[in-house]
Amino acid sequence: MMSSITARYWREIPQRYRGEASKSKKTGKTYFPPRLVEPKNGNRQFEPVKLDYEGNLITYTVIRVAPAGFEDQGAYALGIVELPGGARITAQIADCPLSDVKIGMKVRVVFRKIRDEGHEGIHCYGYKVVPA
């Protein structure tokens, strides 16, 4: 596993820690991460918004064979969540027994530690979702 590049980690803090997104001035749709061009219509006018943190789980899985950096987290649920405004995020589903995870469940985005990185065990933070 290549370690995260310091500048890249720092650059993504506004999204990972604070859910900073962009809202199209043309369609009103929310994009996360923010984009410079809106797909299909070419719009370049956006306003910064914060993600609305309650949404629906639209699909999920349980990762049984974890990738490097996640080995100590055992089996964990990972899903795609649709938030108001149409933004979608891929996130772990925490604080929920694996057998209770269901498509359509209401979830809320929370700030969590994602993993420890490298030999130094540096904490990497971001978002997960929990049952709402």
Partner: protein, 390 residues
Amino acid sequence: MRDVAVIGVGMNKWGELWEKSLRDIFVEAALLAMDDASVDHIDSLYVGSMTPGLFIGQEHLGSLLADYLGQCPIPAARVESACASGGLAVRMGWMDVALGVSDIVLVGGVEKMLDVDGGAATYALATAADQEWECYNGATFPGLYAMIANAYQAKHNIPFDKFRKQLAQVAVKNHANGLLNPNAQFQSKVTPEQVMTSTMVADPLRLLDCSPITDGAAAAILCPLEMARAKFKKHSPVVIAASGAATDTLSLAHREDIAYLKATEVAAQHAYKMANMKPADIDFAEVHDCFTIAEICVIEALGFFEVGKGGDATLEGATALDGAKPINSSGGLKSKGHPVGATGVAQVVEVAHQLRGEAGKRQLQKARIGLTQNMGGSGGSTVVHIFKAV
């Protein structure tokens, strides 16, 4: 544009090729293709390879492979579109010949995946997903396809037990076909029970729902159809009737419909239009079954079966060697192996063998028009080609 023919194909047995290097396996396959075509030189080279930099610490493959193939100073390029790199290399070579820039072009694919351990290979493959917004949060490739599978099952409201059997049948069929392919990595039959009780990787996908990690290469020689007819008469020519390619969002989350492979539909529609054909005209196809769910979604997006009915068609035997629409007669990625950059070119090798009537024990009865579909990442890119015996 000139019509383009495939005049030679080559691949070696795939698997865990510890004793051979990337350049060895590529040159072996390329020489087989050149010998098959009876050519001793090529005008240009396109090689599909997803990430030799991560797998063996080597970039600049165009020069390396032109050199070891004894073909310097021809122009050469590595082509990358994750697991669709091979298919895209075929498309680049087709363009080169069709546009009249080169006459004899070698299109190849290669990946040497076993020089690194499983963790490093998993990491390298995951670079085909969105590193910042999928992998950072713990996504894996089986995990992404598992989310497609669960979304598909929910969308089409298929009872889980039935869905589980549909997935298993893809693996059972492709292993049965691979048993008849001497070049396949796995020469082993699997039963539905074995698939459905194998180790869970990412629910609902189990180990035997996943294609393996493989070392391998494949190659094909292209030239103008007119030249094939005049100079290369060893085989009856196989013509490239169409080439189509399309992209979709890299992140699965951003697809309009997570349970549908839109890029595959778009690439196929371009190809059908170019060939002036419809899905019913295709006799057989080699498709990208990196996971069992992928084959079900792909055969629907190609228009072979109604959306939501690909699993039923598979269970009913429609995609078997003796079915109405044989899919992956080679064994597919599942059984033949999946050296990512080589996969799209190996599909062409199988189609050429079938169209020429040289597929041995797995020869299809009706093989006049064949299609290949090669897909990158979780469906973010797709390349489709249609081939015709003329």
